[in-house]
Symmetry: C2
Subunit: 454 residues, 2 copies
């Protein structure tokens, strides 16, 4: 039985690599040989990468290595247990990955409907992945699970489970790939769907270091599919989407849930390291209107330079305490009041960082002021460009996503205000709870779709 299963597994692997372009399979398996049996596992005993101090190397501890599971025959049998229960589903584990310029976003589907028999037959490595990912909220020094975003009791391809949201810095990517090699992830025969620039940049490393073939997916396709999916299923019984009521009135500006319902057309503004702005007309019809290189990476990079901070969290904490009007030159600093003829209020920023050409002013400001000014500058620039795009594309809903907005109410409220104010209330800014994870969700959905096609 195990041997038969091995064959069917192998068939499935073959089908993946046929039907699904770059399915996640070990290149060695293409001749039909059992992969787990075919390699020597020698590279594992070293586990050099676990000496890293700043990565997600604790993944090392999450599972027994496949190669420590005894005889070649036994190891091959285990591959049966990688199955997710039916032939029209990809084998577990189910991941979707978005390798961005700053952060890697990983979504992981944890099946909650595992039967006793399944659990017994499940390979130890798979079980360990599940246990490790779901029982921790931090991995290594920089991997984080956003527990508050976990989506519960989803039914996906007939399996019920929870979707977990994990992120770690892209600079730890090499350690992650090395871990994939050390732990012989390739033997799990799941398809690793990856999007974001890193899917291209690290493709060769995945292949040569870890023996993994990535299924590369376009990041904007994934973004849209992921967003539409999460919005459609909702967030644990609540809407995924929200907006700000009274955006122009700080005292009464409150977050309100809403539904995208008929989401088209929408202007989608994805603020990651840089910014992409899309006009989305339907599920499969969109265009990239423009982009700007002044994004989340600019905010963090400048803040690190100007304040000596090291993390996004620190930068935002400082910004929350600062006053940008000590740094920026306002219309009233130039006009003495409003520039009435063109409707520019005295409180509008005329020149970001415009006060900082004066040594006297430089000596009088705080790091917090600088952090706030950086945040306000980047946010307003994005808001202004987005507003122009919305007007030009004749789209009145502007949906902001991306990890720049994570724990960043200063920016979300400022965007809501800017979009409302500068459009005289004609445009509406919308936000989504899962901010930066839609690309990863979209990649994950591709994994499931592939199986439907196979």
């Amino acid at each position: 039985m195990m041997e038969n299963d091995e064959t069917s597994d192998q068939n499935r692997t073959t089908r993946y690599s046929n039907g699904l372009a770059n399915g996640f399979h070990n290149p060695q398996s293409e001749n039909g040989e059992c992969v787990s049996c075919g390699s020597d596992g020698g590279s594992d005993s070293g586990s050099n990468s676990s000496s890293g101090h700043n990565g997600i190397e604790n993944f090392h501890h999450l599972h027994q290595d496949l190669h420590n599971n005894g005889s070649p025959a036994k190891r091959c049998k285990l591959r049966r247990r990688l199955d997710s229960g039916k032939k029209n589903r990809p084998p577990f584990p189910w991941f979707g990955m978005d390798i961005g310029g700053t952060l890697v976003k990983l979504v992981y589907f944890e099946p909650k409907d595992i039967t006793a028999e399944e659990e017994q037959e499940e390979v130890e490595s798979l079980k360990s992945i599940r246990r490790y990912l779901t029982s921790n909220v931090a991995y290594g020094n920089t991997g984080i699970r956003d527990v508050h975003l976990e989506m519960k009791n989803l039914i996906m391809c007939g399996r019920k489970g929870n979707l977990h949201f994990i992120r770690f810095p892209t600079q730890d990517m090499h350690r992650f790939i090395q871990m994939g090699q050390d732990k012989n992830f390739s033997s799990l025969h799941t398809t690793l769907c990856a999007t974001g620039g890193g899917a291209y940049k690290f493709e060769e490393d995945f292949r040569t270091v870890a023996g993994l073939e990535l299924q590369k997916l376009d990041e904007l396709d994934c973004l849209i599919q992921g967003l539409l999916y999460v919005d459609s299923v909702g967030f644990n019984g609540h809407p995924e989407c929200y907006f700000f009521q009274n955006p122009s009135d700080p005292e009464h500006c409150v977050k309100r849930p809403c539904s995208l319902e008929n989401p088209f057309p929408m202007l989608l503004v994805n603020i990651g390291s840089g910014v992409s702005i899309l006009a989305v007309y339907s599920k499969d019809d969109f265009k990239r209107v423009t982009g700007t290189s002044l994004g989340g990476g600019t905010f963090l990079g400048l803040c690190c330079l100007l304040t000596g901070c090291d993390t996004f969290e620190e930068a935002l904490e400082m910004a929350a305490k600062g006053d940008s009007t000590n740094v920026d030159k306002l219309v009233k600093d130039i006009y003495g009041g409003d520039y009435e003829r063109f409707g520019l209020q005295g409180s509008a920023v005329a020149s970001s960082f415009g006060h900082m050409m004066s040594k006297e002013k430089r000596d009088s400001i705080s790091k917090e002021d600088l952090a706030r000014a950086t945040l306000v500058t980047i946010t307003n620039n994005i808001g202004s460009i987005a507003r122009m795009c919305a007007v030009n594309e004749k789209i009145d809903r502007v949906v902001f996503v991306g990890n720049f907005l994570r724990i960043n109410t200063v920016s979300t409220k400022l965007l809501a205000y800017a979009i409302d104010f500068w459009s005289d209330g004609q445009l509406k800014a919308l936000f989504l709870e899962h901010e930066g994870y839609f690309g990863a969700v979209g990649a994950f959905l591709e994994l499931l779709k592939m199986t439907d096609d196979s």
Copy 2:
């Protein structure tokens, strides 16, 4: 004769204040009294403001004070000599002033056709102004005459002369106004046409400190009128306008003169401390499309913070030597190459300052790299917004002006490249030799126009 002249002068003053709203006249003169005779001149002897070290206080030395010219009767007679020769012209001196967020721009018309008789009758203060302004290229520590921009042998209101272009920092404005008081400029009875935010911000100071009533003019009106005038008369026999041939090929990118000829419609991008973008359809028909607070003040302010420099010149010198790719995250840093699907080259900036979130990278870059990255970031952002506006307004000529472009070939070439490349050659970037002075020229033209109306 002198007494008769006094009356005519006074009449003219009255005509100005009637026909021209806020003509530049001493409020005390409204009752018809001779202003020079009516004040005691006591405030002049102190000359406190000449102790300033960083201003244009050397203006103090440029003329004898009117109040030192003898008896009340003699002083009144001198007012005859303020005349520019005919009744349908405003009295000399002829100035136009643009008080911006960073710089004050002053244009001064030097009559070159003064007859011997005129010269003899000219009041000493007026002669001193002319000699001081035209025989120096620097005034105090911060006033500069841009000699290379001088426009020669212009005929204006029947007078032949040269137009001089002078600038000083707006932070020295109070010293300038105090000098106006110390030297009793108000007795010259010229109309002081001023535009820019400072015309509003400093209006009260001009009035209360120096006894001067400003003729306030809108800065965008002045910008357009000044630009059209200078382009139409040309720059000493050469075209005022230029563009870059082969903007996409650094080795063969060369500056070429051209004419605006039929200049409408044009998209006019004024890069001062901040940026205004206008769609100009005719001499009198324009709209302010949008603006961005990320302008020249942002570049200089950030450069001062990041590199410790103090001046625009220093900032540009550093930027010329730096490499922004050490600071910015490029598409290839994220993708490993091009992002082909959306036509983004690997060399395009994906995230400005995006490398700077890494301490290792921060430790490896130079101040020059930071200055260059700041310049490239601000310039590309303006270019991108301008391009969007041009497309939306269906205007294919984008004219860039403003003092941000002064001695700044990095930015002019980058703008020319960006406009060309991102529009697939559909749009053309144009530049003007007098960069930041058109507002001041426009204010100066208003002075002459007022006389036509009177």
